[in-house]
Symmetry: D2
Subunit: 285 residues, 4 copies
C-alpha cells in the first residue's frame, strides 16, 4: 500500500464544494480513493472525508501536500484536519481496576485492528500493572485523591506530553477529568459510559437500569467534554435483558457491550472517520 492522506473537512455549506475539493486533488496528480460527505441542512454545515494518494513523484512529500491542502481548505472557509497514513497515532489508555476494556484494546491492537499504537497505560491504581507489562506496555501509576486531583492532573498532562499522545482512551477509568485538563490537553479523549446515554447518566447506571426495569441495556462511547456524559456520541450498542437478570448479570453483559463499543469508537477515530461538532458526531464509516 502506498501512502495516503486523509482530510476531514467542515465549514459553511456552499455549492460546488465536492467538485472543488476533488478538482484540487486531481490537478495536483492525486488519486481519490474514497470521498464521503454530509450536509447538516439545519445548521448549514458541510462535512467531508476524503482520502487520496498524492502524486508519488512529488519531492516535497506528504507534509507539503498536507500544508497546501490546508491553505486551500481555508480559502473555501473550511477547517481541515489532515493525517497521513505514514503517521501512526499514539494512544494512551487510562484505566482504574476493571480490566476487560483494557485487555480487549490491547488484544485488538496486537491483532493489528487499529491504525495506531498503544503507547502507554496510566492508572490511579496498580492493579493492571502486570497486565500492561504482559503486553510490553509502559505503565505509570499516578494516584488521584480528592485532595490531590489538581496536582494529579498536572502529572497526567506532563506524562501525556512526554508520551506525545495523540489520543487518550478512558477504558473504564473511574475518575472525572476536569474541563481545564481537557482544554490544556488539546487532544481528543474517548470515554466509555456503561449505559445507553442519555438514559442513566451519572453513577451506577446498571443499578439504575435494573431499578427501572428496562428490557434493553446499552453502552455509549463519546468524546469527553467539560460536561460529564454530555459529550458527542461516537457509537452505541445495546443488548436485550429480561426480568431474570440481576444487577450482576447486567454488569457481566455490559462488559461485552463496553468492550465492543469502545473498540469500535477507537477504531473509527484512528481511521480518521469521526468529526465532532457541537454535541454530535459525523461518522464516515
Amino acid at each position: 500500500m502506498s501512502s495516503t492522506l486523509v482530510a476531514l473537512l467542515h465549514g459553511p455549506d456552499q455549492p460546488g464544494l465536492v467538485a472543488r475539493v476533488a478538482g484540487w486533488i486531481y490537478e495536483r496528480g492525486g488519486n481519490i480513493l474514497h470521498a464521503d460527505q454530509h450536509r447538516d441542512r439545519e445548521a448549514g454545515i458541510f462535512f467531508q472525508r476524503v482520502e487520496w494518494e498524492p502524486l508519488a513523484a512529488s519531492g516535497s512529500g506528504l507534509s507539503a501536500s498536507a500544508e497546501a491542502f490546508q491553505v486551500f481548505a481555508a480559502s473555501l472557509g473550511m477547517e481541515a484536519r489532515l493525517t497521513s497514513s505514514d503517521h501512526r497515532a499514539r494512544v494512551v489508555v487510562f484505566v482504574s481496576k476493571a480490566d476487560h476494556c483494557f485487555h480487549d484494546l490491547a488484544l485488538r491492537w496486537r491483532a493489528g485492528e487499529f491504525s495506531g499504537e498503544l503507547a502507554a497505560v496510566i492508572s490511579n491504581h496498580r492493579d493492571l500493572e502486570p497486565a500492561a507489562r504482559g503486553y510490553g506496555l509502559p505503565f505509570f501509576h499516578l494516584p488521584v485523591t480528592a485532595d490531590t486531583k489538581a496536582a494529579a492532573e498536572a502529572q497526567q498532562l506532563a506524562k501525556l506530553r512526554e508520551l506525545d499522545a495523540d489520543l487518550v482512551v478512558l477504558a473504564r477509568y473511574m475518575q472525572v477529568l476536569s474541563g481545564e485538563f481537557l482544554q490544556q490537553l488539546g487532544r481528543p479523549v474517548i470515554n466509555i459510559h456503561h449505559s445507553f446515554l442519555p438514559a442513566f447518566a451519572g453513577g451506577r447506571p446498571y443499578h439504575q437500569a435494573h431499578a427501572r426495569g428496562v428490557k434493553i441495556i446499552g453502552a455509549t462511547a463519546h468524546y469527553a467534554t467539560r460536561d460529564l456524559d454530555e459529550g458527542p456520541i461516537i457509537h452505541q450498542d445495546v443488548t436485550r435483558v429480561t426480568h431474570r437478570y440481576g444487577v450482576d448479570d447486567l454488569i457481566r453483559l455490559g462488559r461485552d457491550l463496553e468492550k465492543r463499543v469502545l473498540a469500535q469508537a477507537v477504531r473509527w477515530h484512528l481511521d480518521n472517520r469521526v468529526l465532532a461538532y457541537g454535541n454530535k458526531t459525523v461518522v464516515f464509516d
Copy 2:
C-alpha cells in the same frame, strides 16, 4: 385444542411453592402444559405462570376450577389472575391521527396473531373512521379539548364499560389519560412511547433524539400509570441511526419500531404472559 387455564401468581416467596402448585393441579386431574416461575430475590417475591388442562370430565367446568384455584392461591398468600382459553379478551384501541400502529394491530388481529378480539376503536379525531370501518370495527368519535377533558374521560369510561373492554391499547393516542380515569377503569392500558425510555420521556422524542445525536433510537411499550412515561415497561426495541438521518427519517424508522414493539406487548399481554409489579414487569415468554 382442548380448553386450558392460565394462572399468573405472585406473592411472598417461600419454600415449596412450585411443588404445591403443581401438586394441587395434579391431584385434581389437571395436566400442566407449561410452568415458569421467577424469584425477585431482593424483593422476596415469587412469580409464576402455569398453564394446564383441567380434568375434562369435570362437570363444574372451568369456572369452578378457576375459583377453587384462587382460594388455594390465597391460602399460600398469593394473588392469582386466572384466564380460560375459552375467553377471548376484548381489546379497545384508542387512536388519534397516526394510522400505522392501528393498521398493524388490525392486520395482525385479522391474521389470527392475537388471543383476543379487537372490539372497537375510540378516537378524538375522525381521521381513522374509514380505516376502522374497513376492518369492520365500530368507531366512536369522542373529541377531547383541554376544557372538556373530564367530561370526555367520563364518556370514554362509559363507552369502555358498555364495550366490556378487557384491555385498552393506546395506538399513538396523543392524549394523556388522568390517574383518576385509570383508577376508575380498573383494566390494563398499554401505551407505546416513541423513545427508548427512560431516555427522551415527554414530548417530541424523535426531535430530542436528533438534537442529542444518539446513534440508536427506540420505542417502549408500557402499562399506563398515573405517572406519564413511568409505567412498567413490557417491551422495548431499537434501531440504528446515523448522522445522515434527519428528524423525518427518525419518525419514519420509528413507525416500524412502534408497530413491532406495541404488537409484541399486546400479544404477550393477551397470552397472559405479563405480570406487572411496582414499576417493573415479569414477562414469561
Copy 3:
C-alpha cells in the same frame, strides 16, 4: 425541493474518476448533493452514485443533462443509469394468496415512504382483489397452471408493457418466473425469499429451518434471475428463535421479517441506491 438527477455508474477503475465526474457536473453549473463511490479491488471495478441539482436556468432541461452525462460517462468507459427526481417509477406488485407483504407495501406507499407509485397488482389468484381495490389499485387476475405457464407469462409481459412498469415486486408470489420472461421484460424484478440465503434455498424454508434446529431465521430480498434463489442479494435481516418455536411461529415471525426486508429493498431500489453486478449488489445507503 428542486429537481435532481441521480446517476449510478460503473466501469473499469482508473485514477481520477471521482474528480472527473465531479468536475463535469461543476463545469455545467450543477451542484453535487451526494456522491458515494466504491471500488471492488479484486474485480477492478469502480462504482459511483452521484446526485446533483443541474443548472436551473438550463432551457434544455433534465433530459438534455441526462443525455449529455451518459455520453460523458461512456467516454470514461463507464455505464451510467440516470434518473430524474421528476420521474416517479411505476411499480407492479405480483401476489398470490399471502397478503402481509402486499399490505405493508401499500401502506408504506400511501404513507409516502417510496419514491415511486404502485401502479397495479397482478395475481394468479383472486384472493387479494378486494384488498387491492381497497387501496384504489387496479387488479389483474392472470391464472397460471403448469400447462399454461408460457401463455400466462406472455399475458403478464403484455400487461406489464401496457402498464409501463419500471419495477416488478414479487410480494410472496409463489410462482417461478422463467429466464425467458425476465430477459424479455428487461426490467428489474425484486423477490423476497423467506430464508437467510443461501441457507434453505428452495421450498418450505421455515420447515427446513425448524428441522435443522437453527437459532436464528432470516429473510432475503434479491433481484430475480434465471437461477432461482441465486440472484444478487439487496437486503437481509434475521430474528432470533428458540426450541420453543414451532413451524407456525417461524412462519408468523417470518412475516415481519419478510415485510421489513422487502420494503427496505424496494425503497433502496426506488431511491436509485442499488447497483447489481454479477451475483452481488452495491447498496449506496
Copy 4:
C-alpha cells in the same frame, strides 16, 4: 449460596410429569429454585431442567440425592443427567494458531463467568503455548499430520482421560475429529464454526460469504458429531456487512462473533442449560 442440584431430563411425554417431579423433590424436603420444561409435540418428547436445594440435614448428601433422583426419573421412563453445584466441570480447550477465542475464554474464566475450570490447553501447534502459560494453564503440544492422525487422536484421548475432562472446547481448532474419537471420548465437544450454518458449511466460510455477496455474516456454536458441521446447534449470532467489506473485514468482524457465540454456548453448557437430541438442542436460558 448453599449447594444445589440441577437435573436435565428427557423422555416420552405423558400427563403429570411436571407435578410428579416437583412432588418427588418436595416430599424429600427439597426446595425447587427453577423449573423449566419443553414439549416437542411432533416428536412427543418431554424435556425439563429443574434446579433445587436438597434437604440440608440429609446425612447422605448430594450424591445420594442424585442417585435416588436418577432411579425415580428412570421409573418415569426418562433419562436424567444430574450435576451438583459443588462439582466444577473441567474444560480442556483445543486450539491451533488463532488466539482470539482462546484469550476470550481464558479472560472470561478468570473473570468468573464460567461454572467450570479451564484445566488445560491442547494444540497441534506451539504458537499459543506462551499465552496458555501466561494464564497459568498447562499446555500440551500434540502435533497432527494426515499420516499420524489416528495416533494423535489416541494421544489426545489419553491426555483428556488423564486430565479428567468433562468438556472439550474447539476454540478455532483447525482439525476435524473423527467419529471414532468422539465416540471413545464419550464427553461433549463444542465447536465454533465461522458461518451462519447451514450456510457456508465446510472450509473458508468467509470467502464463500464474500463470493455470494451476503449482507449478514454469522457464527455457529454446535456440538461436534461424526458429521462435520451437522451437529446440534447451541447458539448463533450474526453481524451486518456491506459491499465495502472485503474478506479481511469479514474475518476481523467474524472474530468478534466467534468469541461471543462460543463463550455463550460454553457458559450455557456449563450451567447445565443445554439438552441435545437428534440434531437439535433445547436451551433452558
